[in-house]
Assembly symmetry: none
Homo-oligomer: 248 residues x 2
């Protein structure tokens, strides 16, 4: 990746979110920590940003915070790492279902330049997918106001017209006995539908979701490949022996 490309990416992230962490930039650019630090120094000297502990922020953070919604930075780096691993599963010429949700959203930058077709029920994904010029279809359906996800009969019906090589679903609970779960039965039903029409399915869950059980069941553990991240404790222990698990 060219120096200028990195600089542009950094400034773009800042314009979008107001702040950015070094670890996020490392994931986005595949550059080393040293390189990112050098980039931030240069951009700071050029007066394009201000460095803060752990990352950088726009010069005038105040105005930005008011006009733009803050990126929820909770487990952001973990989510990006998982998203990156998930995106690496995608190959050219494939048809992909991308679930609504923040983790699947983070996959989009890593799908750049892949010759794929994406179907999604996440309205928030559309802008990013358009920016990267990825061919996109949206399912129809009822608009959930809080999450901007499409659900209901309209969503499932429109999915019946499609078949996917791979689907990527966010899940809120992973449990050895209860399998994959999520709070909203409506969304759960959409996920199940995606699952049914996909050759291969992936569940994205950061470590905070492990050994949690949510309300509505999506599938059993063996039905999807779990993509999650390493932790220092032994939360992952029950799953270590599973064949369909990828730990980043």
């Amino acid at each position: 990746m060219l120096t200028q490309e990195r600089h542009q990416l950094i400034l773009q992230q800042l314009a979008q979110y107001g702040t950015v962490k070094i670890k996020e930039l490392i994931l986005l650019t595949d550059a080393s920590e040293s390189t990112i630090r050098r980039d931030l120094s240069e951009l700071e000297n050029a007066g394009q940003l201000t460095r803060i502990h752990g990352g950088a922020s726009t010069i005038n953070t105040i105005s930005h915070e008011l006009s733009f919604p803050e990126k929820s930075t909770k487990n952001q780096v973990e989510k990006m790492a998982i998203a990156k691993a998930a995106a690496s599963m995608v190959e050219d010429e494939e048809y992909i279902y991308l679930d609504a949700g923040s983790t699947t959203y983070e996959m989009i930058p890593y799908l750049q330049n892949k010759k794929i077709v994406v179907v999604t029920n996440g309205i928030t994904h559309i802008d990013a997918l358009s920016n990267y010029e990825i061919t996109t279809y949206l399912t129809g359906g009822y608009v959930k106001h809080n999450t901007k996800a499409l659900v209901g009969q309209g969503a499932t019906t429109s999915m019946e017209s499609y078949r996917f090589d791979k689907c990527f679903l966010g899940v809120n609970g992973v449990d050895f006995n209860y399998g994959f779960t999520t709070p909203d039965p409506e969304e759960s039903f959409i996920k199940k539908t995606a699952l049914r029409y996909s050759q291969k399915s992936f569940a994205l869950a950061d470590f905070t979701k492990l050994n949690k059980v949510s309300f509505s069941k999506i599938a059993d553990l063996e039905d999807m490949t779990l993509i999650t991240n390493e932790t220092e404790d032994n939360r992952l222990l029950p799953y270590k022996n599973l064949s369909n698990i990828k730990v980043v």
Copy 2:
């Protein structure tokens, strides 16, 4: 490959991506590294690009980002007046189809507090509709990157599940003989579908669209009620005697 061809290719890549790597150019041209370097030097001396470590970039990458910002607020006042009049046609308990486009978008603030259900193919409408807590369904379909409108078979199919009391469509051409027209046949087809499933239909067009004919026909004049605005000239003259016209 001719020198001139290479130069053209380099400039074309730059125009498309803003930056280009030397390794990419080697692959694209089958020329040696030395040759590409010479090309870049020459083009830099000619003031056509700036070389950077690893490749080259356009002189002012900033201009690319500046082209983004604001879309023309052309005829904004007229559009709002028309939108307001259109929204006043909507009554409680009705099921409404709201077409994608800037004029129909302006209707949304005026729909506040109405107990209605809205179906739309305009992704850009969703945020506003959510803000006003209006029950919303989105049609599915292919995402047109530039307009963020949903089109294609998926869109029309999903509309078949719905029936509307009223639909509001933006049109680009209104002509006494040719009726209502719009540039994109795909979008035209969606509008026709909405029309078919609506009890009553409204076409929104500011005075600049009058006596214009666009490529793809939507309907005849008598099929929709035209909502447009007053002008000082006599553009409106041919339509004055129509029963289904509302001038604001």
